[in-house]
Amino acid sequence: MNSKTTEKDIVIDIQKIKNDFPILKRQIRDNKLVYLDSGASTQKPIEVINAHTEYFNQINSNIHRGLHTLAEEATNAYEKTRTHIAKFIGGVKTCEVIFTSGTTESINMVAYTWGEANISEGDEIVLTDMEHHANLVPWVMLAKRKNAIIKRIPITDDGRLDLDDIDSIITEKTKLVAVTHMSNVLGTLNPIKQLAEIAHKNGALILADGAQSAPHMPVDVLDMDVDFFAFSAHKMLGPTGVGVLYGKENILEKMPPFNMGGEMISEVSFDRITWAELPHKFEAGTPNIAGVVTFDTALTYLENIGMENIHAYETKLTAYTIDKLLQIDGLKIQGPNNSINRGGAISFTDKNLHPHDISTFLDSKGIAIRAGHHCAQTLMKRMGTIATARASLYIYNDEADIDALYDALIAMRKYFGHE
């Protein structure tokens, strides 16, 4: 990872990258696939696909406790990814990295364990008006169970957090601030470090939902000083069914376990059960071993390009995209209208057309975007819309993809008679 990259340093060999992703050669309805749905899930480079095959051809075995060669190799490969992640997110301890099945499980794990043990009647949990359901429903339901109170940081009309009244929102009553690092709908990047400071000053913990940030930029959980950080492998070139929960050691130590079963216990009798050490306490049963092992290759692929480079490249492409979309009459960007402090999840609405019609039409041109409420119904309400169309970018996208999107949107307005 480069420490600092200016625009002219951006070295992305986009043709090489496109070639690394076999699916991008696919034809969709007679057009070459233009994949602009990476916010939902990214495509996988051939290295990752091969690593998965290699694992099954050479190593496949259950891990831990096994004394034979395959079990040991599988365990080493599995733990290698853990070490890699610990470095990737800023150099934390390996015992602070817990494998889950995805961001959703990571956040639910905190709600069911830390939340059940620490939230009481009258306590306050602070969310924002731009949370994904994964970082909203668990807290709303926890608050219901505990008679706790949900407070929300509002957003401005252009989709930024509005921190004007933050001192009346995060107070000494606050037990947890749960906030997305980057909005999956608006693209907005939130000032996590600043919020962490405010939370800690008030004696609260902070959880950052990194599902949309970890794939696209350097992440340093120590510098941000978050207590929990959650993300998913499938949104960063990795396999499905693998996620991460980072938690500070002293907090994880005190948390009760979540799922219970093999590997997460030390001693079991019908009267007394003791838990295994971190991180195993939180990894019950056979994990997604092949997935975790493969994730290592995805991280290496990203690091070879460089997370700073990726962020810089995507920022440039985001600016290009916003610029193009704003040239289309009747289209509105839902979220920041510029590329400052935002990522490449770009939502838009058409004053005449429902996002579903937009998506169906674009698909007929081979362009994959997402349309709907993006698991953010409360945000939709705030934006005064029922759904948006969303193009979301990654390292395998280029200006040609955006030009194809632009042309298709023009053709669409004609098709539906809204020229």
Binding site: R29, D30, L353, H354, P355, H356, D357, T360, F361, S364, G372, H373, Q377, M380, T385, I386, A387, Y415, F416, G417
Partner: protein, 157 residues
Amino acid sequence: MSENLDDMYREIILDHYKAPRGKKPLEDKNVTSDGHNPSCGDELRMELKVDNKNNIADVHVNCKGCAISVASGSMLAEFIKGKSLEEVKAISEQIKKMLKGEESTITEDIGDLDSLKGVRQFPVRIKCALLAWVTLIEGVDKFEGNGTDSSSTTSTE
């Protein structure tokens, strides 16, 4: 396969979408029924005036949604006006079957409605086409349940 696209957005559907029928709210209604697809965000309000021979004297449909749900609602408004509740219920069930790809026994000429068939190739959009019909059935059921002004909310999900 741009044909596919034209299969769904047939000219007749785009025509209904661009100029929906039954736009005018009724002054004198005895059924109000609201439909809703949370995952799409589609919302539909339907008003019926049922006369004392149990025929549908007038219909109003207001749909905020995609082209398919709007067109489906518009076709419904056009088709059911003047029909008896009996006929309307029967055809609604048949349209539901047709959209879901089950065997339907439609023999009569259903006119524009036939064009909804194209939606079947887009499974996620079927519920859009269904919305108006499900809202209608719910409204009629409620009407028959109490015989007077009735309102209800339903969803195709």
